[in-house]
Symmetry: C2
Subunit: 497 residues, 2 copies
């Protein structure tokens, strides 16, 4: 057999096992009975163990070596080899004992974090966080992609992204965000959020979200929507991509924008070219690119003015009591309120990236041993004051708010802001090619955008690395000006400044 | 490590992988989007392949050998070793190519059967059935538990049951069933089924089934009920045992008795002793014993007179329009109508076993090469005429009605009737120990029965083989008189003969 085919087939079994692990996870979050978690976690550990064993096997090494001997690989084949090597290299460098200790500590970390957050007491979380940080340092030292530990961790989520480059991007971005925020805060005509905090019947919210999904071309023949505590997207194969949402009866945006955000992730995975189905390339280019898709749909499209020209009259019919006499423009302003706030996941488009930047600064320092972990709450609160001029009243609303570090996900946060930057840069390019998009949205038509993203991003899966893909689409490197312009063009009118 | 512990741990991973395969199957039948089956079947094949590899590995052989060297095994340990050997022996004797061919043919068989049944054309199904029969013969010759091929296949579902023994049991049973049926058919006071064929709202049926489940002590903390085309029970671990039901709005019994039947299976698996959780012993003693539990709850309890003293007034409140003025006694008679009919799964308690006996006779002959497969429809129809005095109008309602043979499940049918026999024999023993059970049912109390079954059957899982278990509980070997008496005592009063 062709060595590349053989390599592809071998690693496809790993992809399939990941889909199986994904089903275990989906079921855990969506339908598993409350008392069944012990059995489930053992099954997950078992499947993860089988994946790890396959990944570091002599056969994997041999297949990679054979494939490296093949001349004139085409672009798909060389991406396949690249990803096989990436997966193999990362796995083979970490001894199984450390893998298990990391998994065990992540589980303990998550439980301890939940307890600490409930009590709003960082000291409860501190010892296990120290352990996590030290294990992640060990892991990074072993994998050692470099130049720094943080780069190694980052590379897992955002291939080829370097810590220095992120620093530069974020340092450019920060003063602009503060400037824009300042201008918005000086406004005397602020939107009013009362209308979206009225009571909205759960079942009607659900129905509206499904109506929107259908119109956006989400394919229920190979997907479904369910409810879970935290919305997420999961692929159980390239022809089974499911999303979840949550419904808050006293906050209308939670369900709708949760649905649309996850739609953006799901449509990516639904549109992979069949030739890469079930392979290592059946994945997003990076977490940042993935996030660019969810944010493009959620923020640029669905929080945009034109989207509501079509949908607001429909939404009014779903909720006449609350909305019949409420002006469309004011509704649009209401869902785009900008306001420094304590909690990242509730932040608006302007302040969101400031939350990310401070997390990035902290976790980078953690990896470099430049922080005394006991001082984290203080450091957190000082950064909040500097960036957003507010101070958390307690640890639960401060340093303990995010789940990521408790599970060992260090190096993940930057991908959220990269997603915003990629999205606005890509969208500006799309608008050049399709200047009538806003009018289409206003008519409830989304297929031009779906097709464009499918043809230029989705179908490639992981064939291109994020910056190559960005250059391929936009003709330039990452340029945060697009995001800054997007924010100014959108929010100054909303705030009438 | 203790060789038995080591053996147990090794095979527990196989049990866990089976739970994972069960989740894949549950999801396929309950929530998977319609267009996603291709990806799913590849994942299932992959997990089955991993299980097979683990089962026939040199390590498995070595662990079994080591365990065989241990003296003075207790009853759990020796059952563990027995089951490990059973699993290993069956798997190691069948070459992987035959395993794959069987799986492939079963998939093709199932698809072809669906097509053939839709067209009601046996000839479409015949070639693949011939292939299936010949592969099963090959498999039986390789495994060769003997004395006949049919014994070998039977042993997989009903350990230690011999074909000769089944023949004797069924031959004793047959004339009694025909005699009882004849007497019932001579009755001039037959129940009327009109009332259960009225329209019953699906959502209310669902709610009633959940209310019943709760009262029966089904533990929703480690289980759940969903809907599927065919009701089934599935364990995703010993602390995650789910059931499904189906709702027919124009036939009330479908949902309720589907739920209660599956409850009987589920409560078995929920009550395994924790020391056998996740091991090879976390399973029913046999399919026959499993079926005895579902039928005990469905037929003896829930189609019994006392059950409805409690539930009928409640059911009347759910469906006042249909039932308010309908007498309880007539309702009870209605759900116990006896009538020769074409379709096994719709058959009553008296005729059901006649359907089974003819299938047993046919499949036994198939394995012995005593049948020309092209003549099956004819053989089927003649047996129907002899046993039930009706002739199928076409193959769909005749030889093509069951799914079993299409997937290679030959030797499975007898377990249904064994289930009936076990159930009535066991229940008669329980009644001796707890003569007030009927009064308890009439008060809506079921915990005495649940506890008895838990303590005397469920907690043991697969520790005892079916006939040992039966003897342990009832002090005697299988005795079909209990079933015959049960039928006479129940149905003669209903039919006033």
């Amino acid at each position: 057999m062709n060595p590349i085919k053989e390599l592809t087939e071998y690693f496809s079994d790993i992809t399939r096992l990941r889909y199986v692990a994904n089903l275990l996870d989906w079921d855990t979050q969506v339908y598993m009975p409350p008392g069944s978690s012990q059995g489930r976690s053992e099954q997950t550990a078992l499947i993860e163990g089988i994946i790890h064993k396959k990944l570091v096997s002599e056969k994997a090494a041999r297949l990679i070596k054979n494939a490296e001997g093949v001349a004139n690989l085409d672009i798909v084949e060389s991406a396949m080899l690249r990803e096989a090597k990436r997966n193999y290299d990362r796995a083979v460098k970490v001894p199984i004992d450390l893998v298990k200790e990391l998994a065990k500590t992540a589980t303990l970390g998550h439980k301890t974090w939940e307890k600490a957050r409930a009590k709003s007491d960082f000291k409860t979380f501190q010892p296990v966080l120290e352990k996590i940080v030290s294990l992640k340092q060990k892991e990074a030292d072993l994998i050692d992609i470099g130049p720094t530990r943080y780069d190694t961790l980052l590379d897992q989520f955002e291939p080829d992204a370097k810590s220095d480059w992120i620093l530069k991007v974020f340092n450019e971005l920060k003063p602009h965000l503060k400037r824009i925020l300042g201008k918005i805060e000086s406004s005397t005509e602020k939107p009013n959020q009362d209308v979206i905090k009225m009571h909205y019947d759960a079942q009607k919210q659900w129905k509206f979200s499904v109506e929107v999904l259908k119109k956006l071309n989400y394919d229920f023949n190979i997907g479904r929507q369910d409810k879970s505590a935290h919305p997420f997207t999961v692929s159980l194969s390239s022809i089974d991509v499911r999303i979840t949402t949550r419904i808050w009866e006293n906050f209308l945006p939670a369900c709708l924008f949760g649905t649309i955000h996850e739609f953006g992730h799901a449509i990516y995975e639904m549109n992979f070219n069949p030739e890469i189905h079930d392979t290592l390339l059946a994945d997003g280019s990076s977490l940042g690119i993935h996030e660019s898709q969810s944010r493009l749909w959620e923020n640029i499209v669905a929080r945009g003015r034109d989207f509501w020209k079509y949908w607001y009259p429909i939404l009014q019919k779903y909720f006449p009591k609350n909305l019949k006499d409420y002006p469309e423009e004011e509704f649009y302003r209401s869902i785009n309120t900008v306001q420094p706030s304590l909690i990242r996941v509730e932040a608006d488009e302007v302040t969101y990236s400031l939350h990310i930047i401070m997390r990035y600064e902290i976790e980078k320092a953690l990896m470099g041993d430049d922080v005394n972990i006991s001082e984290l709450p203080q450091i957190w609160n000082e950064k909040m004051e500097t960036l957003l001029s507010i101070t958390p009243p307690d640890d639960a609303k401060g340093v303990l708010q995010d789940v990521h570090w408790s599970g060992g996900a260090i190096g993940y946060f930057p991908t959220y802001t990269l997603g915003n930057l990629y999205a606005s840069q890509i969208y500006s390019k799309i608008l050049e090619a399709h200047p009538s998009l806003p009018e289409e949205f206003a008519r409830g038509e989304f297929s031009t955008l779906v097709s464009y993203l499918g043809e230029n991003i989705h179908k490639f899966g992981k064939i291109y690395t994020p910056l190559d893909l960005l250059k391929k689409i936009t003709g330039e490197d990452l340029n945060s000006n697009y995001f800054i312009e997007y924010l100014e063009n959108k929010f100054y009118p909303i705030y009438k400044v």
